[in-house]
Amino acid sequence: MKIATVALALLALTSRPGPFRLMSRPGPFGPGAVAGPEGPALQVTTPTYTKDIAPLLADRCGMCHDAGGVAPFGLLTYADVKRHAAQVAAVTRSRYMPPWKADPDNGPFVGQRPLNDAEIDLIRRWVDGGVVEGDPRDLPPPRHWADGWRLGPPDLIVTLPQPYTLQADGTDLFRIFVIPLPVTKTRFVRGLEFRPGNPKVVHHANIRVDRTAASRALDEADAGPGYSGLILRSADYPEGHFLGWTPGQVAPLLPKEFSWRLDTKTDLVVETHMQPSGKKEIVQPSIGLYFSDTPPTRTPAMLRLGRQTIDIPAGEPQYIVTDSYVLPVDVEIEALQPHAHYRARDVRGDATLPDGTQMSLIHIGDWDFRWQHVFQYESPLRLPKGTTLSMRWVYDNSAANLRNPEHPPKRAKWGQRSSDEMGDLWIQVLTRNEPDLVTLTREFRAKVAAEDVNGYEVEIEKHPTDTGLHDSAALLYLEVGRPDGAVAHFQRSLALKGRSAPAHYNLGTALSVAGRLDEAVYEYRQAIQIDSAYANAHNNLGGVLLAQGKTAEAAREFREVVRLQPQSASGLANLAWVLATAPRPAERDAGQAVDLAERVVDLTGRRDARALDVLGAAYASAGRFDRAQGAAAAALRLLPAEPLATEIRQRRDLYRQGRPYVAPDPGSRR
């Protein structure tokens, strides 16, 4: 008894009050279980392990705190719990355990196993009462958690081929492992389960798929298993699905209709967050995959709010990042994943419905980079079209933020390294139907690309001589309709690469999109000078010359394309077009145009609207207006995008009037 008194005194010394939160979701061990139907009389009863504590801990803690689980010790026997009793009371009271960073009101999410205030108090009273064991007959039937794969026997198990040796000392360490998937035919994946191999040191894992060999190449270039560095953009979530692992959590299998396609030659890219244990550790994670026989019939979309313009001054205690997006279609939110590094303190994702109702999707008031989690709704959250999704992240880059990786604080900019900062809210949604998915994906792509441009600029600032970064950034600038940005980066890339035909060609393409035609012609000619057999350069040069009204010169380039690549659909179509529609009659050759256009239509299997349009123009040029109308109608049946659709309709109207289409002569207008 004397020992118990000492222990209590020590407890009072070492435990400190945790943040107090109201729990709105009573679990199965709600206040009723404590007070009992008889009312206050039961409250004087000292809780016992067998009756009160064992079922509670088995339910909320057993997933990790079992023999062989990911936690450092078990909590499933009286001896084990007794040995850690004061610690259990303290960490449940401070809400360090069970680990759940989001507000208890958010969700409900899969795997959320909170203790409510009454349950926490029950544990405290059990400890204060002297950790009484109680009647063994009260013990609930034992539960076994950790035996084998929690999702059942996987269809395929892959293991990191070479184990990684983690150093004994130091702080968080990130390593990207690339695990080839030995599938010999296309499979459809319903889920995967990550087993850390060494749960003592593996803190969380973020898994992506790379359908290119790019990640593998980085792995091979780095000595030892995996590589240290950045996740490549080619490694991504598969078709709108999250893949991740946090201790104690297993994402359930997807319904069959949501499986994702796994082609051959795909690698799993596993970003693994490890914490040294004090001795060298062997880390060799395994991943079990679960397949479906049938392809998916529904595909989610992955939305991402966030900024890549983050730039936090050293010492700034409150730097705020916000972003928002208005849903163009109805959706159901399946899951959420907030992401930031060490300087973020408070992260908040909200939805504002069209009627103004505001709801909290996720709020983490004490952001901890080391507990990254995908929050999957137990049942999806429906949000109507017109709902605004928004995020607000608050960062503390002062010395008062103890997790600040820089001491003293330094300016922090956007970047993937944990010493940089990020701020994203990933949101997985399902649309009601396929057309809605197309609309959402197209609109969202524009938003994400515009933000990714910012990220590329930051990366390029760090790696100004990386031509791959310049080229990727330029392509993104073209995608978002900012050709001048593309020109600037292709110029840098060209300057770095020196004498390079593709670099001149890329720059020429960006210049032509920017409307800088004379400069584009110059670059294409440079490319051709280096590589006279560069068909694409001849083709694009022809296109620019055509736009300048230099029809004969353009035709010469297109002929060169056809000579170099007789099967080039674009070369054939362009040449046919010039011969059919040239402003000056002398430059036209209707017969040859028809021959060429028929070849193109054959080559493209009558599935290309532009090829059919060229054929229509060729027939009209030859005076065969019925056939011209037929080709135009066939083109329109393929629902071409604008402005082509309108142009084809205008030409069809000409053909109906028995008139050919003749291109305007830009040269004559000068």
Partner: protein, 193 residues
């Protein structure tokens, strides 16, 4: 002022062993299992550093490289390092295995303290926690450094090295600036139940 303080401390130290009715602190040697006096030290030892630890406390284990560094730095200067395993459930065999895994062997001696004799003498409550004894008195008790602030809150690197600073102060005859600090880790209290 500093000179006064130092003088006071020196006086205290001189009083130490004789005036102090040394309690019968007994621990078990990991090798051999016999009862020994953990405060006994060969001549020339200026301070004994006790490190309360356990085989399965993650924070305790993460400090192993730092403990080895400190022991290697201060060992030649007359400071001896002693690991104390207060958990009665940890057997001598498990402790020997632990010492091998974390490369403590040869760096520090190890004792078991299942009756918490030494824990109570030092006032330790946590693993890992250090107690520095000089001339029979505990002159520092607390954390090794400030890397861990609370469970779930840790700095990327320590900013103050309390244990090392305390040892330096003792070796140079200076007062220990912060004789007690709060350690963060696993509760020793639990082992006593």
């Amino acid at each position: 002022m500093p000179r006064l303080l130092a003088a006071f401390l020196v006086g205290m130290l001189a009083l130490g062993p004789s005036a102090h009715a040394a309690p019968q602190v007994r621990v078990l040697a990991v090798n051999g299992g016999q009862k020994v006096d953990p405060l006994a030290a060969p001549a020339g030892i200026k301070a004994i550093v006790f490190l309360f630890t356990s085989t399965d406390c993650p924070i305790s284990n993460r400090y192993a490289p730092e403990v080895r560094r400190l022991a290697t730095t201060f060992g030649p200067k007359g400071v001896t390092f002693r690991l104390v395993y207060p958990n009665p459930a940890e057997t001598a065999a498990a402790i020997r295995e632990h010492m091998t895994a974390f490369a403590y062997a040869g760096v520090a001696q190890a004792f078991r303290d299942p009756t918490l004799d030494l824990v109570k003498f030092a006032g330790a409550t946590i693993t890992p926690e250090a107690a520095v004894v000089a001339a029979g008195r505990v002159v520092y008790r607390g954390r090794i450094d400030d890397r861990y602030v609370d469970l779930g809150l840790e700095r990327p690197a320590a900013t103050t090295h309390d244990l090392g600073d305390a040892i330096e102060a003792i070796l140079t005859g200076q007062p220990v600036r912060h004789p007690t600090t709060q350690a963060v880790g696993c509760y020793i209290a639990d082992f006593a139940r």
